[in-house]
Subunit: 252 residues, 2 copies
């Protein structure tokens, strides 16, 4: 497909790389951030533009990959009748694009994307279209970059997915950050924990996490729990979370 | 080295495989669990025994890989003067082995080990010896199976490592389990979250987790937080953890 990408941040960059790798043509990158846009255009051997008024109107699909609160501004004067236009914001309703075209939708990548990466991660896509043409186009675009990880999802389903993502990404990452801080202060090397962290994550492919719980909480080892809590006295935040997580695990 | 492994559970199985892969000889597997012991002996083309009285006394190193509470029982009548003997229990003092030999120690693998695995995970080792000979032997054994992930650690350091491991393994896995349960009940496919989970873990190799926090809590997006909490009303445990994790992230 011939695609225009609006935006030059993390989502724009990674989606563009995925599209290129799948053989699509990126006609143009449009972004107010001139240097970021031209860097991506250079990478993809295409053109960039810094004003919506310079938008190339010959693409099949327009992907709006900008922050949730900027979408509204971007589409003020955007009119692309006949074109398929989708935004990538999981928590924004597709109808925000109603005035832009009859073929509008959402193209939501359920992944934590950062442009400074040395690898292209697998990305599950959740799409939704205003009509059959849009749905089919977005589905086939998603399948071309992520076979096996594509599903339809409306606004409510995306909200529920977002809740699950907050738990397994934001909350888990917060635990990593607290553990890293603890290690630093206790003179331990946080990197020694990375093999354990990776194994815990990789195991999910084959085994349900409810089947693999170990540790003092699940075996009701009160002595170890109390010892750990005492040793966490200088880490009030971690101590509080230790208590609540332990209770939560025991209550299973 | 010529090694005898006492135990036939997850730790025994994975350490034995690592030793074999590194070119060591496993002289014998000793365990009361006859079928588990003979399965491992068959896998490693060696002998098994089901009684400590049948222990082979010609090995260089004896690794006791049994549950914490069984070590005491195992060593009641175990005497191996001149041999290096180590247990693998991070939270058990090395001195429990004092009567067995003058060369005793701890050989602690900081990893979640399961014998039903299709891959041998990377294992950081923390060793401690009663004397120089023991320390050197355990260090070189650890380096032979896990170059780059070997360090000395006494009882107190192992306790602190265990606390960090509880956070990044047990607590994280509990969050995975809660998310899986939520997905099941909401008709979502938990496996769609696995690429995000893997990316969150793999990123730690190159970036500090404190630098990569995203989501509603860190950006103080009260509207989304309240929406999520309302949607979690049928998941009291998850709702409680959502509140506490959000507070903890905001308090950073």
């Amino acid at each position: 497909m011939e695609i225009v990408i609006i935006g030059s941040g993390n989502v724009a960059a990674i989606l563009g790389r995925k599209f290129k790798a799948a053989g699509h043509t990126i006609l143009q990158v449009v972004s107010r951030n001139a240097s970021a846009a031209s860097a991506l255009a250079y990478e993809w051997n295409t053109e960039s533009a810094n004003y919506m008024s310079l938008l190339n109107h010959r693409a099949d699909v327009y992907i709006i990959a900008v922050s949730d609160n900027v979408i509204h501004e971007i589409i003020q004067s955007l009119r692309l009748p006949g074109k398929v236009v989708a935004h990538t914001a999981g928590s924004v309703n597709k109808d925000i694009l109603k005035k832009v075209t009859a073929h509008y939708g959402v193209f939501y990548p359920l992944q934590s994307l950062r442009k400074e990466t040395d690898h292209l991660p697998e990305i599950p896509f959740f799409y939704e279209g205003s009509d059959d043409k849009t749905s089919k186009t977005l589905e086939s675009l998603a399948l071309s970059v992520s076979p096996g990880f594509v599903a339809k999802a409306d606004s409510e389903e995306r909200t529920r997915l977002h809740i699950a993502a907050v738990i397994v990404n934001n909350f888990v990452n917060h635990l990593y950050a607290l553990a890293e801080d603890y290690c630093k202060k206790e003179g331990l090397d946080f990197h020694q924990l990375i093999p354990l962290i990776e194994e815990t994550a990789l195991r999910l492919k084959t085994t349900s996490p409810s089947q693999t719980m170990t540790g003092p909480a699940i075996r009701n080892d009160e002595e170890t729990i109390q010892k750990h809590l005492a040793l966490l006295k200088n880490y009030p935040k971690l101590q509080e979370l230790y208590k609540l997580m332990t209770e939560s695990i025991r209550g299973n």
